[in-house]
C-alpha cells in the first residue's frame, strides 16, 4: 500500500448561491390574477390553460400556496362585489334575470378557475384544511351576493311576490324561478331553507288562512272542498316545477292545516251541505273528496266516521220506531235493506271500501236493528212474503241476490232464536198450504242459515221438508191401496213429526161424516205400516176444496180451511143455523169459530154466508144463511185464512215467553259444558264464556245466567268454593 491520503467525500456548497427571484411569487401571482380578471370579463379564450396551470403549480410547489389562496379569495371577492352592484342596479323584473345570468357566469368562471388551480385544490388545500376552490366560490357568492344587504331581502320578496301572483292566477316565468331556486339549493340546504323555504311556508300559511276564511263564508261544503283540492294539487305541481322535492310534504301540510284541519268541524257539520246532507243525497263525488282530504288530516277520518255513525244510528233508530213502517213488516224490512244498500254503495264508491267504515256500518246496523224486539219476526215475515209471491218470475240469480241481502240483515240480529221460532211457524204455514213460490229458494235459504248458525239451527227445518216429501209418498200409497175410494172425496194427508214442527195445541173438531170415515181409514192404513206411533189430526191447519151451487145455479169451487169446511157442510142439512148450533155441530173453539165465520160472512167478495144482523162482529145470537146471491167473477174462490200475519199483542207475549223458557235449558247446558271442562271458574269468567257460547243464538242476560247458576247449585251440579267467594266448582 502506498502512502495515500484518505479520501473523504466532501460536498461543497454551490459556488454560486441559487437565489429564487423574490419577485417570482409576485410575478406569477400577477399572471394568475390577470387571468381571473379575464375570465370574469369573458375573455378567457385568449388564455393558455397549460401556462396558467403550470404557474399555479409552481407557486404551490415553491411554498407560495398561501399567497395563491388568499389572492384568489381577494380577487374573487372583489369581482363579486362588482357583480353585486350590477345586480342591485337591475330594475323590476330584470332583477332576477340579472341575478340568474351573473350566477351562470360565476359558475362558468368558477369551473375554469378550479381547473387552473387544481393542483392547489389537491395538495395545499387538504393539507391546510382550507375550503376547496369550488365550494369557496359558492360560499363567496353566498356571502357577497345572496346575503348582501341590498339583495337578500329583495330576492326573497321578489320570489314570494311571484309565487303569490301565480296563486292569484297570473302566469310567471317558471324556468327562471327554477334556476334561482336551484341556485339556492346549490348553495346549501340551510341557505334554501333559511333564505327561502321558511319564509315561503309562513307566507303560504297566511295566504291560505285568509283564503280559507273567505271561502268558508261564501261556499258550501262541497264547493269548498273542491277549491281546497284544487289548491292542494296546485301546490304539488308548483313543487315539481320549481321547488325542492323535499318541500312538497311541508307545503301540503300547510294547505291541509289551514284549509282543512282548521275548518274540519265546521265543514262536516255545515247545514244543508255538510256530511249528513251528502250522505242523505248520495253525493258520491263530494263524499269521495271529503274522504280523501280528511285522510290527510290528523283525526280527519275518525271525525267523518263518527259523524256518519251517529247519523246512521239516528236514522236507523227512527226507521225501526216509525209507527207507519211498523204496520207493514215487509215495508219495514225493505227499508232496512234499502238503507244497507245505500251505505254499501257509499262506502265502496266514495270511501274506497275502507274497512273501518265498514265496521262502523256493521256496528250501527247491529245497534238499531236490535232496538226493536220485533225485528226477528218482521224479517221472517219479509222472507215469507218473498217466498210466497214476491219472488214469482224472478230469475234464480236474482233470487240468490235478494236472499243474500236478507241474510246480511239477519246476521245483525242478536236474538236469532226468536227468528228461528217465527221462521218455523211461517215455514209450516207455507209448506202446508202449498204456497211456496220456489222450492229451490226455500232450500237455498236454509243452507244460508245453516252456514250462519250451524247445523243444529236448521236440522228441524230440514225435517219439515222431509215430512212433506214423505207425506206425498204416504198419501200415494194410501190411495193406491184403497182404489174403492176414487169416487168419493180425495184425501191429501201431511204427516208431521211433532218435534220438527212448531208446537200447536191439538184441537179437534167434528168433521163431516164423509171426511171422518175417510180419515179413520187413513189412520188404520198408516198405523198398519208404522206401529208404535200416535196420530192426532190437526184440524186447525188443514184446507179443503169444495164445490158449491148457489141460489141462481152459479157454481163455484171454494178453497177453504178445514174449519170453514165443517161449518159449510152443516148447511147441506139446514137452511138456517144460529151461532150456537154451529158451535155445537162443529165443536170448533169459540175464538177460531168467530174468525172463521167472520171470514165467510163479513168479507166482501168472499161472503158465501149471510149473517143476521149484518154487523161486522160475530155475536152469540147471530143467525147464518147460505148467501144465495153470492157472486164472483172467478170460478175458483179462495176463502181460506191461513196466511202468516204479524202477531197480535197476546200472541207476541206468548211467543216471547216460550222463547225465554227455551233459553233457560240452553243457558244451563252451556254452563255445565263450560264447568265440566274448566272444573273451577270464577263468576265473571263464567258469565263471559256463556255469553260468548250463546252469542250465535241470542244475547244472554247476566242476571238470567246467575239465576241458572243458582239453580244448578241447588241441584248440586255446582258448588261455591269455600275459600274464594267468587269461584264455582263443578261437581262430577
Amino acid at each position: 500500500m502506498s502512502n495515500q491520503k484518505k479520501r473523504i467525500f466532501q460536498i461543497e456548497a454551490f459556488q454560486n448561491r441559487v437565489v429564487v427571484d423574490p419577485k417570482y411569487a409576485e410575478k406569477t401571482w400577477k399572471i394568475l390574477e390577470h387571468a381571473i380578471h379575464e375570465i370574469y370579463n369573458h375573455n378567457a379564450s385568449g388564455l393558455s390553460f397549460e401556462e396558467l396551470y403550470r404557474n399555479a403549480y409552481n407557486m404551490v410547489l415553491h411554498k407560495f400556496g398561501e399567497k395563491l389562496y388568499s389572492g384568489l379569495v381577494t380577487t374573487m371577492t372583489a369581482h363579486l362585489k362588482e357583480i353585486s352592484k350590477s345586480i342591485e342596479a337591475a330594475q323590476g323584473n330584470l332583477f332576477l334575470e340579472e341575478l340568474n345570468r351573473k350566477w351562470n357566469d360565476h359558475n362558468k368562471a368558477l369551473q375554469m378557475i378550479r381547473d387552473i388551480l387544481m393542483y392547489m385544490d389537491r395538495t395545499y388545500i387538504p393539507d391546510t384544511h382550507k375550503t376547496p376552490v369550488h365550494e369557496l366560490g359558492l360560499n363567496l357568492w353566498r356571502d357577497n351576493i345572496i346575503h348582501s344587504g341590498k339583495i337578500q331581502s329583495r330576492l326573497l320578496s321578489t320570489l314570494l311576490e311571484l309565487v303569490h301572483r301565480e296563486r292569484t292566477g297570473e302566469v310567471i316565468d317558471r324556468g327562471l324561478m327554477r334556476n334561482i331556486v336551484k341556485m339556492l339549493m346549490d348553495l346549501g340546504s340551510s341557505v334554501y331553507q333559511e333564505d327561502f323555504e321558511k319564509p315561503f311556508l309562513e307566507v303560504s300559511a297566511e295566504f291560505y288562512r285568509g283564503e280559507s276564511q273567505k271561502f268558508i263564508e261564501c261556499y258550501d261544503c262541497g264547493d269548498y272542498l273542491k277549491k281546497a283540492e284544487i289548491r292542494l294539487n296546485e301546490e304539488i305541481e308548483r313543487v315539481t316545477h320549481y321547488l325542492d322535492a323535499k318541500s312538497e310534504g311541508k307545503i301540503t301540510n300547510v294547505v291541509e292545516k289551514e284549509m282543512i284541519a282548521n275548518h274540519m268541524m265546521r265543514l262536516v257539520h255545515m247545514e244543508n251541505s255538510g256530511l249528513v246532507n251528502m250522505l242523505l243525497n248520495d253525493k258520491h263525488g263530494d263524499l269521495g273528496r271529503m274522504y280523501n282530504l280528511s285522510r290527510r288530516v290528523p283525526n280527519g277520518l275518525a271525525m267523518i266516521r263518527d259523524v256518519m255513525t251517529s247519523h246512521l244510528r239516528e236514522t236507523g233508530k227512527q226507521l225501526v220506531t216509525d209507527a207507519e213502517s211498523l204496520k207493514d213488516p215487509v215495508e219495514y224490512v225493505q227499508r232496512l235493506l234499502d238503507e244497507k244498500e245505500k251505505y254499501d254503495g257509499i262506502i265502496s264508491l266514495a270511501f274506497s271500501n275502507d274497512k273501518t267504515f265498514q265496521n262502523a256500518l256493521n256496528s250501527s246496523f247491529e245497534y238499531f236493528i236490535n232496538l226493536n224486539s220485533r225485528s226477528p219476526e218482521f224479517i221472517s215475515l219479509f222472507v215469507d212474503d218473498k217466498l210466497r209471491k214476491g219472488l214469482k218470475g224472478v230469475s234464480e240469480e236474482d233470487v240468490e241476490i235478494i236472499l243474500d241481502k236478507v241474510m246480511m240483515i239477519f246476521r245483525y240480529l242478536q236474538e236469532k232464536d226468536v227468528f228461528e221460532k217465527y221462521y218455523k211457524q211461517h215455514l209450516a204455514k207455507r209448506l202446508l198450504s202449498g204456497k211456496t213460490v220456489s222450492d229451490d229458494a226455500e232450500r237455498s235459504l236454509i243452507v244460508n242459515l245453516k252456514t250462519a248458525c250451524g247445523y243444529q239451527y236448521t236440522s228441524k227445518l230440514e225435517g219439515m221438508f222431509t215430512d212433506m216429501k214423505t207425506s206425498q209418498d204416504t198419501t200415494q200409497g194410501f190411495c193406491s191401496s184403497h182404489p174403492e175410494l176414487t169416487d168419493g172425496p180425495t184425501l191429501v194427508v201431511q204427516v208431521l213429526t211433532t218435534g220438527s214442527w212448531p208446537t200447536q195445541p191439538s184441537i179437534t173438531c167434528h168433521l163431516p161424516f164423509e171426511m171422518s170415515a175417510l180419515c179413520e181409514k187413513f189412520r188404520s192404513y198408516y198405523l198398519g205400516t208404522h206401529t208404535g206411533r200416535r196420530l192426532s189430526w190437526q184440524t186447525n191447519m188443514g184446507t179443503a176444496d169444495i164445490k158449491a151451487i148457489f141460489g141462481k145455479g152459479q157454481k163455484h169451487e171454494l178453497n177453504v180451511s178445514t174449519y170453514q169446511m165443517c161449518v159449510l157442510m152443516l148447511f147441506n142439512n139446514a137452511d138456517r143455523l144460529c151461532y150456537k148450533e154451529i158451535e155445537q155441530g162443529t165443536a170448533i173453539p169459540a175464538s177460531h169459530l168467530k174468525r172463521c165465520l167472520q171470514s165467510m160472512a163479513c168479507v166482501k167478495g168472499k161472503n158465501v154466508l149471510r149473517k143476521e144482523p149484518m154487523s161486522k162482529d160475530i155475536g152469540e145470537d147471530d143467525s147464518f144463511f147460505v148467501n144465495e146471491k153470492f157472486a164472483s167473477k172467478f170460478y175458483k174462490v179462495k176463502v181460506g185464512t191461513v196466511v202468516a200475519q204479524k202477531e197480535s199483542e197476546p200472541e207476541k207475549q206468548e211467543t216471547r215467553q216460550r222463547v225465554e223458557e227455551d233459553r233457560k235449558p240452553q243457558i244451563e247446558a252451556a254452563i255445565v259444558r263450560i264447568m265440566k271442562s274448566r272444573k273451577v271458574l270464577d263468576h265473571n269468567n263464567i258469565i263471559a264464556e256463556v255469553t260468548k257460547q250463546l252469542q250465535s243464538r241470542f244475547l244472554a242476560n247476566p242476571t238470567e245466567i246467575k239465576k241458572r247458576i243458582e239453580s244448578l247449585i241447588e241441584r248440586e251440579f255446582l258448588e261455591r268454593d269455600n275459600s274464594d267467594r267468587k269461584m264455582y266448582r263443578y261437581l262430577a
Binding site: D682, H683, P702, I713, E714, R720, K726
Partner: protein, 228 residues
C-alpha cells in the same frame, strides 16, 4: 222450636273400651258410672215408649234449665249434640253431647249453656253452627229449602244478636218480595257472609257483578231505592 216429624237418623256414636288385666275395665267402670248419671238425666226427660227425648221432654228440660224453648241456646245445644231430628234427642246424641260438654247433671248443664254460647261465638264454630241451624229445620227427606216465614224466624234467632240492623231490614225485605217463596242452603249461607262482609247500612262495598245470589242483588237494589 216447633216440632216436626223427620225421618232423618243420626249416626251411632263411636265407643271404645279399655280392658285392664283383671278383666274389668277401669276407665270403663268410671265411664259407666259417669254414663249412669248421664243416662239418668236422659231418662228423666225421655219418652219411655219411644226411647228418645221428644218435644215434650225438651220443653220440660228447657223449663228446668230456666230458658225459653225458643231460646237460641237450645239450638246451640242441639248443635253440640249433633241432633239429627228437630225436636228430638236420641240417647246416643245425648250421651255424646253431655260428654263433649263434660256435664252429667242439670246444674252443670245450666252452667255449660253459658259457656256454650261463647264456644259457638268463635269464628271457626259459628259458620258451622249457622249452617247446622238451617239443616236442622229441614224436616222432610229430600227437602232442600225452607219457607220464608221459617227463615225469618231463624234469622232472628241465629243472627239477631250479632247483626240486629241487617236482620231487621232483611226480614222486612223477605216478607215483601215475591220472587222467592223458599230459601235454599246456598242463599242461607250467603246471608251470613253478607252480614259479615258488607258494610251496613251504606252497602258501599257490595258489587252485584260478583257471585252473590240473585236474592241479595235484589235486596240491595230494594234497599237503595228505599233510601234514595
Amino acid at each position: 222450636m216447633p216440632p216436626r216429624a223427620s225421618k232423618r237418623k243420626s249416626a251411632p256414636p263411636n265407643s271404645s273400651t279399655v280392658t285392664s288385666s283383671d278383666g274389668r275395665s277401669v276407665s270403663s267402670k268410671a265411664k259407666t258410672k259417669g254414663m249412669e248419671k248421664i243416662d239418668r238425666l236422659f231418662n228423666s226427660y225421655a219418652n219411655s215408649s219411644l226411647g228418645v227425648i221428644d218435644p215434650d221432654g225438651i220443653e220440660a228440660l228447657c223449663s228446668d234449665l230456666g230458658v225459653d224453648y225458643t231460646d237460641v241456646r237450645i239450638l246451640m245445644l242441639a248443635w253440640k249434640l249433633k241432633a239429627g231430628k228437630q225436636g228430638y234427642f236420641t240417647q246416643d246424641e245425648w250421651r255424646t253431647g253431655m260428654k263433649a260438654l263434660g256435664v252429667d247433671s242439670l246444674s252443670k248443664l245450666k252452667k255449660a249453656l253459658c259457656e256454650l254460647e261463647i264456644e259457638v261465638g268463635k269464628p271457626t264454630n259459628y259458620e258451622d253452627f249457622y249452617t247446622y241451624a238451617f239443616r236442622y229445620c229441614l224436616t222432610e227427606e229430600k227437602q232442600k229449602s225452607l219457607d220464608i216465614d221459617s227463615i225469618c224466624e231463624l234469622l232472628n234467632l241465629v243472627l239477631g244478636a250479632q247483626f240486629r240492623p241487617q236482620v231487621d231490614v232483611l226480614v222486612e225485605y223477605l216478607k215483601v218480595q215475591s220472587d222467592y217463596k223458599v230459601i235454599n242452603l246456598d242463599q242461607w249461607i250467603n246471608f251470613l257472609r253478607f252480614c259479615q262482609e258488607i258494610s251496613f247500612p251504606d252497602l258501599g262495598n257490595y258489587d252485584s257483578a260478583l257471585a252473590w245470589p240473585l236474592i241479595l242483588d235484589n235486596f240491595v237494589e230494594w234497599m237503595r231505592q228505599k233510601h234514595s
